[in-house]
Amino acid sequence: MLLSLEDVRRTFGGVRAVDGVRFEVGAGEVHGLIGPNGAGKTTLLNLVSGLIRAEGGAISLDGRRIDRLPSHRIAALGITRTYQSIRLFPALTAADNVLVGEHLLRRDPLWKRMLFLPSVRSEERAAREKALHLLARVGLSERAGERAANLSYGEQRRVEIARALASEPRVLLLDEPTAGMNPAEVASIAALIRDLARRGHTVLLVEHNVKLVMDVCERITVLDFGKVIADGVPAAVAKDPAVVAAYLGAER
């Protein structure tokens, strides 16, 4: 298993936001993580990406423990993410945002640039071309030179995905990529995620849009009050009585 979580725990004050969560994401899998509001989905992504520390349990990437590492090391090992509340670099253009995402892959050292070595210039050109290529992949070629702050909500989300893809991550974490979007925008994000799946990317998708998750995910984990209440293929999870109860309330 590429990404595995074992008995992961985290509390905020007295609230057990993530309470003994255990599930695995296989290589090349699009794995959905759903649950009602406050179920602990975003907390879980923050734990995996190292923004907050787990209080117990283990998170491993390819068998290697990552739950004690700082977030830049976790990114270097191959996990990048997008944010529910978009966190682009607002003053930078769309292309430059994606260029920042290439940080881990670029090697051009500063001293070579100080000496105007031609190898640096070709590396820089390649990096920019790659950024433009990624923007084309998310359908934003014409907006490459626009400052992130001036982009529409849907466009910003897509730039974030392109930025996260720029480091060629082994696991991509998407935190509610369709939050606050209109149906047309949701359809374009769904197409984008399907495209990622087809290209063999491993994706952990946190999402409120259950239809989208059922549609694009191979496996789904359902959280409620910080605990895993169901885990399996979409068809099985949809019928699971515990899931139905969590979403619609238990039958009396």
């Binding site: 977030s71 830049h72 990114a75 993410r81 670099f89 930078l92 920042v100 940080h103 100080m114 820089e124």
Partner: protein, 300 residues
């Protein structure tokens, strides 16, 4: 204008030209940490360390000037490392307060150091700094910042300034970059301190007070921090302004000192209100305004 008058003019304003260069270098030292979003105000302390280190080496060890300058640059840069490690865990005003504290500690240390004559400071320092030395140092600093801009490092710094946690999750080792920029800023301030000491003959603790850092920060803000040369523009403008004001002040019967403070405050206020990206953004603004006007004129 005959050659003698030109010579007089040059002699009168030579030191002003030198101070523009020195202040430019100091403004850049504040800019280096601002470039990655850190408001670090220990630059007067670093400047003092550069000035004292270089002066002691000149007066007591009689070392050649380039060696003295190198030591004056390196000493504060090295000290910036142990200072930055704990201090860079702080953000915003807390970082500002901690670094102001560092600057004051350095100043008070020299006030109480008998070896350097305490508050009286070191005098009769040979004048080794030439105008070209100052401007070579300034050009060097500008060159380094110019090459950083647009590089992998430059983008990492911008990302840290814009959103540090997001930058970290992109794999950017924010602490290392912040440390490096603090060291670079300390080196610039130390170099400026060493050059200043060997230009003005004298080194006294009172010239490295909190007011000095505020002055550097004002240079950077007035010039603008959106581009790397902005702080130098601000330093040049605010260093030249008192010279002009002296003329005006004497006509309206105002003392140059108070008038200078008043006008500096006014300039700062006007820039913050109407030119948030500083004086350096003025050409671009004017060009945009003209383009908009031209477009409006061509519109049917």
């Amino acid at each position: 204008m005959n050659s003698e008058a030109l010579r007089d003019l040059w002699l009168t304003y030579q030191s002003t030209v030198a101070f523009i260069g020195l202040n430019g270098l100091l403004a850049l030292s504040v800019y280096t940490t601002l470039a990655c979003g850190q408001l670090s105000l220990g630059q007067a302390g670093f400047m003092a360390l550069g000035a004292y280190t270089s002066t002691i080496l000149t007066l007591h060890a009689h070392l050649p000037f380039p060696v003295v300058l190198a030591a004056g640059t390196l000493a504060p840069a090295l000290l910036a490392v142990p200072l930055a490690l704990p201090v860079l865990r702080l953000k915003g005003v807390f970082l500002a307060i901690a670094t102001i504290g560092f600057g004051e500690v350095v100043r008070i240390f020299f006030v109480n150091l008998d070896y350097t004559n305490g508050a009286l400071g070191l005098v009769a320092i040979p004048q080794r700094t030439r105008l070209w030395t100052i401007y070579a140092a300034l050009a060097g600093a500008l060159f380094v910042l110019w090459r950083i801009r647009g590089s992998r490092t430059g983008y990492a710094l911008e990302a840290i300034r814009e959103d540090e946690p997001a930058a970290r999750t992109m794999g950017i080792h924010a602490d290392a970059y912040k440390l490096a920029m603090m060291v670079l800023g300390a080196a610039f301030a130390g170099l400026a301190g060493a050059l200043d000491a060997h230009f003005n003959f004298i080194v006294v603790p009172s010239s490295y007070s909190f007011a000095r850092v505020v002055e550097m920060l004002v240079f950077a803000v007035v010039g603008g921090t959106a581009v790397f040369y902005g702080p130098v523009v601000g330093a040049a403008f605010l260093t030249l302004l008192p010279e002009v004001l002296r003329e005006v002040g004497s006509r309206v019967g105002m003392q140059p000192g108070p008038l200078r403070l008043f006008v500096n405050g006014l300039v700062l206020l006007l820039v913050i209100l109407f030119l948030p990206d500083g004086l350096a953004s003025l050409p671009r603004r004017i060009r945009r305004r003209l383009e908009a006007r031209r477009a409006a004129a061509h519109a049917p």
